[in-house]
Structures are given as structure tokens and as C-alpha cells.
């Protein structure tokens, strides 16, 4: 854990590694994934490769399975009773459905930011220190360092540094969401899953979170579900269009929004349905 703390220093010198052009590694390789809620099939034959240090946006109309898919990536979907899956999702080459792969282990590497800001009813400090604490980090000095680094990483440090011991519920909605991002950074994840992170926020807070996502992708692989197409166009490198539980199209964001190859994608992004 301590070794990976070093890794975050990259955040402070962001912008340096733009020149690198070598091929990126695949973080998540999804093959023939099917998922059922009881009898209803929510995901059909999904094949999707997600590359590291990119922002991958997942768009689609309500009920298309985009949230289901992102929750499958850290197996949060299993909290829903009656969920069955088939197929495979390999995270860094290892099948996450493998019996020997503990969900807790997976989730220490894959952080998640939720639709509604959900800070704990604890102090700002305790919120960020929660993740490291449950993973057994006790030393106050290290915790302090992690808290500051994470809050800086989530671009909220300056706003909260004088009131770290105040309850997180005193923050505005947008600040709460950035705090949740900080809390997620504190476990030093490899991937950050964002499930419509700005849908409950005002435009200015949304903008801040979007800028933040741009900064974070220097360090993390980000998968973001959004039903705001402009947002997907603004912040993502690749976009997957989901419809009725299937991936209709998955390509570079520029291509999806300028020259989609599927008629349904075109209809959706031009606002003809959904």
C-alpha cells in the first residue's frame, strides 16, 4: 500500500506525460457477458475492452443496462437479489467471477463514485480516512497524508482544509460529490467507476467534476455512466452506446459523435429517441 502512495505524486505533475504514445494496457476485458435479474435479461452478450488511463463513457437511454454493467465491474450488482451472470469479465487478466477472487480484494483496486453523493455522516477527515482504515492502516501520520493527498486530488482541499473535523453533511451537494471522489482516491484504486456522478449536481458543480475527471485520467482508468451526451462528448476518450442490454457501438468518442456507424447510435445522439 505504501509503495502505491508514491504513485499518486504523478497527480501533482500532471500534464507531463502527454508525449507517451505507446499502446495502452487493457484493464477490463468483457467477453460474452450476460446478466439476468431473475427471468429478465438485462445484459446481452457484452464484449467490451476498456483501456487504462482513459475515460470510457457509457451512454444509452434509461433501462439500457449501462448502470447494471458498471455495477457488474466491481460486482456491486450482486447486492441485488436474484442476479445471475454468465460469461467473463477479466480485470487485469483475471476473471472477477472466479471463486478465488474475493470481492473485497477487487474493490480495493476498483473504486466507485455513485449517482447521489453519499458521504458517511462523519467528519470530512473520517470520510476520506475510511477506506485506508478498513484496509488496516492505523498510523495517524500516513492517514493524514492520504487524506490531504486525496482531497487535493479531488480538487476540494482548499475548500475544506480548515474544517476537516466538521461533518461532511455541512458541505454542498457538489462538494459532497467531490468528497466522495476523494474518499474513492484514498484507497488508491486503479480504476474509478462513476455511475452518473453529476446527475444530482448543479451545472457549476458538474463542470468541476468534469474538469476533475480530465485530471484524474492521467493517473486512473475511468469508466463513467452518463445520460448526458454532451458530457460524454466533452470528457471521454471512448464511448460505448448501450441499447436494450446490448452494446450497439463502441468506438473513439470523436467517431461516435461525428460519424456513428450504426443507425441507432445516430438516432440516439441526434436526439431522435431516448
Amino acid at each position: 500500500m505504501t509503495a502505491t502512495i508514491e504513485k499518486q505524486k504523478v497527480l501533482e505533475k500532471q500534464g507531463d506525460n502527454k508525449s507517451s504514445k505507446q499502446p495502452k494496457d487493457i484493464v477490463y476485458k468483457t467477453s460474452e457477458l450476460n446478466l439476468w435479474y431473475g427471468e429478465i435479461q438485462a445484459l446481452k452478450n457484452i464484449d467490451l475492452d476498456i483501456y487504462e488511463k482513459e475515460v470510457t463513457a457509457i451512454i444509452g437511454p434509461s433501462g439500457c443496462g449501462k448502470s447494471t454493467y458498471i455495477k457488474t465491474l466491481n460486482r456491486m450488482i450482486e447486492l441485488v437479489p436474484g442476479v445471475k451472470t454468465s460469461g467473463e469479465i477479466a480485470y487485469r487478466g483475471r476473471n472477477i467471477f472466479d471463486k478465488s477472487y474475493g470481492v473485497e480484494e477487487l474493490r480495493t483496486k476498483v473504486g466507485m463514485v455513485f449517482q447521489k453523493p453519499n458521504p458517511f455522516p462523519k467528519s470530512i477527515y473520517e470520510n476520506v480516512a475510511y477506506g485506508p482504515k478498513i484496509h488496516g492502516i492505523r498510523a495517524k501520520k500516513i492517514l493524514d497524508e492520504i487524506v490531504e493527498k486525496s482531497l487535493r486530488g479531488a480538487a476540494i482541499w482548499d475548500e475544506v482544509k480548515d474544517r476537516l473535523n466538521q461533518n461532511a453533511y455541512g458541505l454542498s451537494g457538489g462538494q459532497q460529490q467531490r468528497l466522495c471522489i476523494a474518499r474513492c482516491l484514498a484507497i488508491e484504486p486503479d480504476v474509478i467507476l462513476m455511475d452518473e456522478p453529476t446527475s444530482a449536481l448543479d451545472p457549476i458543480s458538474t463542470l468541476k467534476v468534469e474538469e476533475l475527471v480530465q485530471e484524474l485520467k492521467e493517473e486512473f482508468s475511468i469508466i463513467i455512466v452518463t445520460h448526458n451526451m454532451q458530457q460524454a462528448a466533452r470528457i471521454s476518450d471512448k464511448t460505448a452506446f448501450f441499447l436494450n442490454g446490448e452494446v450497439v457501438e463502441f468506438a473513439e468518442t470523436d467517431k461516435i459523435f461525428s460519424t456513428p456507424s450504426d443507425k441507432r447510435t445516430e438516432d440516439y445522439i441526434t436526439g431522435r429517441f431516448g
Partner: protein
């Protein structure tokens, strides 16, 4: 064409408003009825018992002479009872609630348990007395000890504590659990660090109200055979003892008028104890309540 004739609507306004006023009166009267009864009750008990209520009353053992009698054994006995009931019922009750809410899968079996817990809350207390008599007093040969009575009372209030704790646990938003799971926390870590701190005010409030019930309950203790007259104090949980409601019951049964006044004084002591416990519950609720 308009489907609503507004002139007609305005004409019909008056009866509607009158009806509203009428029902407001009915509901107010219903509320006042309860208050009135409580007021009369308190007035009667206070005027009757206040004369006997002094330090000597609290410090004296029961006696055949009304002017020398006191509630010491009963008051101490009630406290002893709490020493057994509080930990036993809270541990079992909260444990059950956590299991049912957080760990158990929702299936027919847990549904069955759930229904039976609710049913258990409705079982007359005297039935628990019979259970205690058979199991604790006779089978386990604990006699009419603090332990036997305490375990019986724990069973009696257990359903209340389970239901209150379940509600408190359920009221913790799922978002918070997901946030914790999402960072790789185990279920137990989530329960300990997220669910419990948020649920504890509700659990304690329910727990204290349940304990107040245990303090006031008499029927099961009568069945267990607790002595009505006891002139010594229990020294351990295996000793014989008596409690306030039993003492009050004993005094009200006597023919002499003075003992009735003593009973009233005993009731005042019991009421003060209950009000004290309920205010702790209210205090905890207000102080630690979290809003989401």
C-alpha cells in the same frame, strides 16, 4: 366546454369547511380524553401518596406497620432486575436484528422468523411468566432468583428490542452501505463502522422503552412466584428478590387504608423511575439523531 361549474363549487364550499372543523374537533377531543384520564390518575395518586413519600420511605424495608414500611427492597430489586435484563435483552435483540437485516437472505425461512417475532410481541406477558416458571425456575432450578426473573423479562421484551433495532438498522440509507462495500469493506466492517453508528440512537431508544416495560411488568413475576413480602436485600443474581410493581400489588391488596396510600407512594416512585428512563431515551434520540 367547461366540465367544472365554479359557481357551484363555491356554493358547496361551506359544508366542506364545516366538516373539516367538525373533524378537527373530534380528533382534538380524542387527544384530550387520554390527557384527561392521565391527569385524573396522576392527581389521585399524587394526593393519596405524596404524604408518605419521603427519604424514609425509600430507605425502609417493608413492614407490617404502615408508618414504618418502605420500598427499599423493591427498589433495589428492580435495579437488580435491570442489571440482568439490560445486557441479556440488548445483546440478544440487537444481535438478532443485525442478523435478520444485514446477513440473512430474504426467503421463506426468515419471513417465518420475522412473522413469529411480531407475534411474540403480542403474546400476553403472563404466558412468558409460565414459560419462565417451567424453564428457568423449575427445569434450570434457578428458583425465584433475580436471574430467573431477569431471563424471563428479557424474553418478554426481546421482540420489542428486535423490532425497534430492525427499524433503526433499516432506516440507515443503503447508499452508505454501498459506499462502504464499494471500497472493499467486509460486511462486518460496514455494520460496525457505518450501520451501527447511524442506527445506535434508534436502537437505544427502543431498548430503553423496552426496559421501562420490563420495570412495570407484574404478571409474569407473580407467576414465577416472587415473594410479596421480603425483608432482606439480594446479594447476588441467585438470591430471592422482589420488585416495585410486586410491592405495590401487595400493598393494594391489604384492607387498611394506610397501605393504599403506601401503594400510591410506591406508584409515584415507579413513575419517576419510568419518566427518568424515558427522558434518557428522548435525550439520546435528540442528541444523536442523524439526518440524511
Amino acid at each position: 366546454m367547461r366540465l367544472i361549474d365554479h359557481a357551484k363549487v363555491v356554493n358547496n364550499m361551506k359544508p366542506r369547511i364545516l366538516k373539516n372543523i367538525f373533524f378537527k374537533g373530534v380528533f382534538f377531543a380524542a387527544t384530550m380524553f387520554g390527557l384527561l384520564v392521565l391527569g385524573i390518575l396522576l392527581y389521585r395518586i399524587l394526593t393519596q401518596g405524596i404524604g408518605y413519600l419521603d427519604l424514609q420511605f425509600l430507605q425502609s424495608l417493608p413492614s407490617r406497620k404502615p408508618e414504618m414500611a418502605g420500598v427499599k427492597t423493591a427498589l433495589i430489586g428492580t435495579i437488580w432486575l435491570m442489571v440482568v435484563v439490560a445486557p441479556v435483552s440488548l445483546l440478544l435483540g440487537v444481535g438478532t436484528a443485525i442478523y435478520l437485516e444485514e446477513y440473512a437472505r430474504k426467503n421463506q425461512f426468515t419471513n417465518f422468523i420475522q412473522i413469529n417475532i411480531s407475534n411474540l410481541a403480542g403474546v400476553p406477558s403472563i404466558v412468558f411468566g409460565l414459560l419462565g416458571l417451567t424453564v428457568f425456575v423449575r427445569a434450570l432450578a434457578l428458583g425465584t432468583s433475580v436471574l430467573a426473573a431477569g431471563l424471563t423479562m428479557s424474553l418478554l421484551v426481546l421482540p420489542i428490542i428486535i423490532v425497534a433495532s430492525q427499524e433503526a438498522i433499516r432506516s440507515v440509507p443503503n447508499d452508505l452501505r454501498q459506499a462502504s462495500f464499494g471500497m472493499g469493506a467486509t460486511k462486518w466492517q460496514t455494520i460496525l463502522r457505518v450501520v451501527m453508528p447511524a442506527a445506535i440512537p434508534g436502537i437505544l431508544t427502543g431498548g430503553i422503552l423496552a426496559l421501562s416495560r420490563a420495570i412495570g411488568e407484574t404478571a409474569p413475576l407473580v407467576v414465577l412466584g416472587l415473594p410479596l413480602f421480603l425483608a432482606f436485600l439480594p446479594k447476588s443474581v441467585f438470591d430471592m428478590f422482589t420488585v416495585l410493581p410486586m410491592q405495590i400489588y401487595n400493598w393494594t391488596g391489604r384492607p387498611q387504608e394506610e397501605f393504599h396510600a403506601l401503594a400510591a407512594a410506591g406508584i409515584i416512585v415507579l413513575l419517576i423511575l419510568l419518566i427518568f428512563m424515558n427522558s434518557i431515551a428522548v435525550f439520546i434520540r435528540n442528541k444523536f439523531q442523524k439526518r440524511y
